[in-house]
Symmetry: C2
Subunit: 449 residues, 2 copies
Amino acid sequence: MTPNDPLLTDLYQFNMLQAYLDGGKIDTAVFEFFVRRLPARRGFLVAAGLEQALDYLETLQFSDDHIAWLRDSGRFSAAFLDQLARFRFTGDVDAMPEGSIFFGNEPILRVVAPLPEAQFVETRLVNILHFQSLIASKAARMVLAAPGKQLVDFGLRRAHSAEAGLFAARASYIAGFAGTATLLANRAFGIPVFGTMAHSFIQAHDDEAAAFEAFARSRPDDLVLLLDTYDTEAAARKVVELAPRLKADGIAVRGVRLDSGDIMALSKSVRGILDAGGLADVVIFVSGGLDEDQLARFRSADAPIDGFGVGTSLTTSSDVPALDCVYKLQEYAGVPRRKRSVGKATWPGRKQVWRSLGRDGRITGDMLSTEDDDWPGERLLEPVMRNGRRLQQPPLAAMRARVSHGLDQLPDGARRLEEPSPCPVAIAPRLLALTEAVDRRLAAQDEDV
Amino acid sequence: MTPNDPLLTDLYQFNMLQAYLDGGKIDTAVFEFFVRRLPARRGFLVAAGLEQALDYLETLQFSDDHIAWLRDSGRFSAAFLDQLARFRFTGDVDAMPEGSIFFGNEPILRVVAPLPEAQFVETRLVNILHFQSLIASKAARMVLAAPGKQLVDFGLRRAHSAEAGLFAARASYIAGFAGTATLLANRAFGIPVFGTMAHSFIQAHDDEAAAFEAFARSRPDDLVLLLDTYDTEAAARKVVELAPRLKADGIAVRGVRLDSGDIMALSKSVRGILDAGGLADVVIFVSGGLDEDQLARFRSADAPIDGFGVGTSLTTSSDVPALDCVYKLQEYAGVPRRKRSVGKATWPGRKQVWRSLGRDGRITGDMLSTEDDDWPGERLLEPVMRNGRRLQQPPLAAMRARVSHGLDQLPDGARRLEEPSPCPVAIAPRLLALTEAVDRRLAAQDEDV
């Protein structure tokens, strides 16, 4: 399979597609993707994944092979399959640029397209935007918890699949990580890549010091030695002993890595051993089951740690492994629509989000309005695709700058790791009035029945 | 990218590979994959993903394109890249068959291969085995919580990427789900696929009853109508009114779906409306933010629900989004090895797991032994690959039967959803003795330094 295989969707998308085409329901539809409400441990979210979402939309089509398989399944009519062969996404998309900070109920992407197209892309669009936004949001908390430290994504092995690992590397880099251990992320996205050694490398040698030396001579660049296979402090002393011999051959030890034990205490004792051994410029890098709460504790304790490799908690967003996000129909054939399901009601119509800043440059609140409304502040949704063709997207560096700027704009309450307060999102009067009008129309229909 | 792109791994695997090849460390290594300890909310785990793991091992190779990119990166020597072009996995693998129940410290996969090969495959092997075992284990809890009910995977959209959604469909089917909504899982694995309609389909029509009828006439087979877009009970009455007209045209309503609101109360009132309307054979299907705890509550309350669509909590294993699993070197060049890092120590050597049953057919406990030991009970690890070529693997139906049988063998304490007690795993005396011998050897080395 390719990740964008058009069969990688819910069966019901095909059921609805055939019903729409059978019923001539091909007028323009407007769908919006948003997070209904923020989890308790998130004071803000970071939009990511738009580039992959646009890739998907731009390249969506059914090959002869797909059509043949669908025909053989016996589920679909010949007329429908003929239409499917010509099916493309031809719509318009507006979105918040990747790296934008956003809050609950705010659309970060709007699709305007013929109903069959706009509906069909739901599942994969949600799949792409949800995951990268989830990870970028988690990573941004780590960036806030460890200012000035080098953060590296170590999480491929426990990411939920290959693509998750690759996209997590991208999302965390957008959020401000220095890079990733995943080599393919370097090739695919140009993200800086970091790598040290595993415990097994040490174990495969009969002697730890010999293992350090063999590794150093084979991979002398950016040399980081792993200390905790047997006894961390003893290993630090071996590095002190080895370093002059390596230096004589032009090889510098850049750092050491601690991966287990009482990291707070070990970072201090190892720093002491290295400093006393003339290795004050060797950095200490820490990994092993880290999350943003631990990063914050290391910071509070002023632990002498220069960088962190963060794995599982990052690539699975372990405290919040999913966001309550949806892609909902807001308008069809020029008429605003609304879902009124209990606890899942939506604001109807095409919308825009406006951001206001206080005199201190911090966000005071956002306004959710109808698209044709006009409010002060920054307009957050902008055109990114027209007639199925994407407009120029910014490079990763610009997305990183956007996150960095956005984090600076967050009030302290939203930046807090524990019990954060998201910025308020107000509903514009015209959107409220539209919602009431839609409700009146739906009530009138119910009375007709 | 393809999911098995050999660059989809940690940079350190390449660093170590070059160091091993430079240093002639090419003797036979033994690595084992295991979960260190079970999370508090898991009384057992289910092994899954072996087929994809073997796919990866069997097809692993570097194309000219990969080699050229690695050369251009400037990180590696020409001699190393020449060796990489010929690099294949040529080793042996023993594993628990997919669908096996397992516990902490028990290897579910053992790799025996030249060290460079056995080491290099670590990241992707962990990535594959971790995720599918995670999801199969979560799904099995749902199967236990809802005996006799039809469970369907609805989780692609919030799965962590495309491959995660596809593999989650496979893992949950192995665990006993009836099928999935993901169409590609039907094509890729032959898993039964289910699909209804979305709220947007109802919203796109000006009238809910007209939407039901349009859908029924376009997709008459396996017809399930979604009731909760506006008012669930009113929608149920519309189904009662519509059903005779559809029946006259040979179309049967198979079921209705509830996706929001007070499901316990609504399932009863909708059942009443359907029964009173002569639709006693129409099933009630429920979805929307379900997990195994809710399934258990519906069961306790005897709610009239026939099936469940489970999404996010399944495909992200939301209460436990990762397992503490590792792939560790246990032997190199005939010498057992051991990592002694604090809290992460491992049992050395090649191992086997033996399972004993009581007179009631329930598991009394497992024994972890050295491979050459012999114990009563079922031997759980068996050969699955020799010299890089896989041996015949069982079909999905056999894996499902294995899970079903294994769940029956679990004692009540391990099956419990809350505060479960995993079955005990004893350490055989010869393995304990080997561990002590390895520790003595490592201590002697430390004294030499």
